[in-house]
């Protein structure tokens, strides 16, 4: 992520991040990007691996 991309993203989010902190956030962004990348296996994922289990409709 570049500094310009971060600035654009923060503007969309409406977050008034102080100037002095933005370069640190850019430097750390790869840590989260790496985690996000791990969630998408190169070989794809079985469509049955889906999160319906998080939705619970009370029976009564």
């Amino acid at each position: 992520m570049t500094r310009a991309e971060l600035d654009a993203a923060l503007a969309r989010l409406g977050l008034a991040v102080p100037e002095g902190e933005r370069d640190q956030i850019v430097a750390a962004a790869h840590l989260i990007e790496n985690m996000v990348a791990r969630l998408r296996p190169v070989s794809g994922r079985n469509v049955a691996a889906e999160p319906a289990h998080v939705v619970y409709f009370p029976e009564e």
Binding site: M1, L6, A9, L10, L13, G14, L15, A16, V17, P18, E21, Q24, I25, A28, A29, L31, I32, N34, M35, V36, R38, L39, R40, R45, A49, E50, P51, H53, V54, Y56
Partner: protein, 439 residues
């Protein structure tokens, strides 16, 4: 009992900073009431008259509950959190509100209205977090037990670094109502105490169905203390060695202490075999993405309105969280289902897992960086992802006298077996006999 703890707080907490707010008058009033009750023959149980502390995310009726943040420094709840009321019903006396990382995530921070808590074993060291004040207060003997919360390790981390027993129970066992949330689907409430038995006593009081918490388990609460007495001979343990020997390399002292703990457990009649799971980074990626997204959603409005009222560590972590997409979150949920199934299959034929709780002893507090929680995969996070009961237990000391720990993990709703093994291990080892040498 209460007076002795208040005296100890007055003498020591100026250096430990474990309390945000001491409720001396209220505690003495409760203590007198407890004495009268007990004298009249009404004994509520082992917590009756016992002084405890509450992590300052547990709403406490009429008492400011801040989340250790300027954002909520004037927040006075009308009623107790469900689990706080249950502790009071059991007769526990609330000595005060304990320091935490900001909203259970941003710490150790030095730019908040209150300083971070310090480790009683070495005041220059990190307590672990986010239940930092609870870890410090219990280890220093300022309270006999305390409440924590655990979204990625925030009970087990302080338990490990402060040399305590701390259990993250099964998800849903303890109500989350009235506890300031960090991540809805990962937050667990639980106790920290000096021993597994004390944790069992506190868990017994805190657990129970709460209709107001949609995730609250609706099942009878087991007698966790009675379950401690059963023999551990024959328990089948799986050792997840690669988590701490390859995926997040622990130091030699930690590895040696865990190996010794496994031998002790074998000596008690347990069997131990190695178990291989997906790399730790997979579990942590899943948990961290879910945690950041849910935390950001909770704080979104305040982050927009008053970003710099948050401490720098919390707010900049939230800035990163805001960059994660909805599709990323769904992928994390999908991965979560896979990982839950994987752990359940891995535990077939086993009763418990063992692994590390932390890769080292407590580091220096000023070595904990703003994004350090993302730099090495958390050894505790997998069991927040799966909702499994998991406990940190002391298993030795470094040459410089800092506590070392290991982690015991159980099947969901088999918290009793986790506590039973921890208790048996504690009874077979001398680690509980050493206290921090506070002057």
């Amino acid at each position: 009992m209460v007076d002795s703890r208040l005296d100890r707080i007055a003498r020591l907490d100026g250096r430990l900073h474990s309390f945000i707010r001491v409720l001396a008058d209220a505690a003495r009033h409760e203590a007198r009431a407890s004495e009268a009750e007990i004298a009249a023959g009404t004994y509520r149980g082992p917590l009756h008259g016992i002084p405890i502390g509450l992590k300052d995310i547990y709403e406490t009726a009429g008492v400011v509950t801040t989340g250790h943040s300027k954002v909520m420094q004037d927040h006075v709840p009308q009623k107790d959190a469900f689990s706080v009321q249950r502790l009071r019903d059991a007769g526990a006396i609330v000595l005060g509100k304990l320091a935490t990382h900001e909203f259970a995530f941003g710490g150790p921070s030095f730019d908040l209205p209150w300083p971070p808590a310090r480790n009683p074993w070495d005041l220059s060291r990190f307590t672990g977090g986010s239940s930092s004040g609870t870890g410090a207060a219990v280890a220093a003997g300022l309270v006999l037990g305390g409440t924590g919360s655990d979204t990625g390790g925030s009970i087990r981390g302080p338990a490990a670094f402060c040399g305590l027993a701390g259990i993250k129970p099964t998800y849903g066992l303890i109500s989350r109502m009235g506890i300031l949330p960090l991540a809805f689907s990962l937050d667990h409430a639980g106790p920290l105490a000096w021993t597994a038995e004390d944790c069992a006593i506190m868990l017994q009081a805190m657990a129970g169905h709460d209709a107001a918490d949609p995730a609250s388990a609706n099942r009878p609460v087991r007698d966790y203390r009675a379950a401690l007495q059963r023999d551990v001979n024959g328990l089948r343990l799986g050792l997840v060695r690669h988590f701490y020997e390859r995926d997040n390399e622990a130091n030699a002292a930690t590895c040696d202490a865990i190996a010794a703990a496994a031998r002790t457990l074998e000596g008690l009649g347990c069997s131990v075999r190695e178990v291989t799971l997906s790399p730790l980074a997979d579990w942590v990626a899943c948990g961290v993405v879910i945690m950041l997204c849910e935390a950001y959603a909770i704080h979104e409005a305040n982050l927009r309105r008053r970003f710099t009222d948050y401490g720098e560590m919390f707010r900049d972590r939230m800035a990163l969280a805001g960059l994660i997409t909805g599709a990323d979150y769904v992928q994390a949920l999908r991965r979560r289902r896979e990982l839950i199934d994987e752990l359940d299959r891995a535990m077939e034929g086993l009763d418990l897992l063992l692994t590390a709780a932390a890769p080292t002893e407590a580091p220096p507090i000023d070595a904990v960086g703003k994004f350090s929680t993302f730099e090495r995969p958390l050894l505790t996070m997998p069991f927040n992802v799966t909702g499994s009961p998991a406990m940190s237990v002391r298993c030795g000391y470094t040459d410089s006298g800092l506590p070392l720990s290991f982690q015991i993990v159980g099947k969901r709703f088999d918290d009793a077996t986790v506590l039973r093994l921890a208790h048996a291990y504690e009874q077979a080892t001398p680690w509980r006999d050493r206290r921090p040498a506070l002057q």
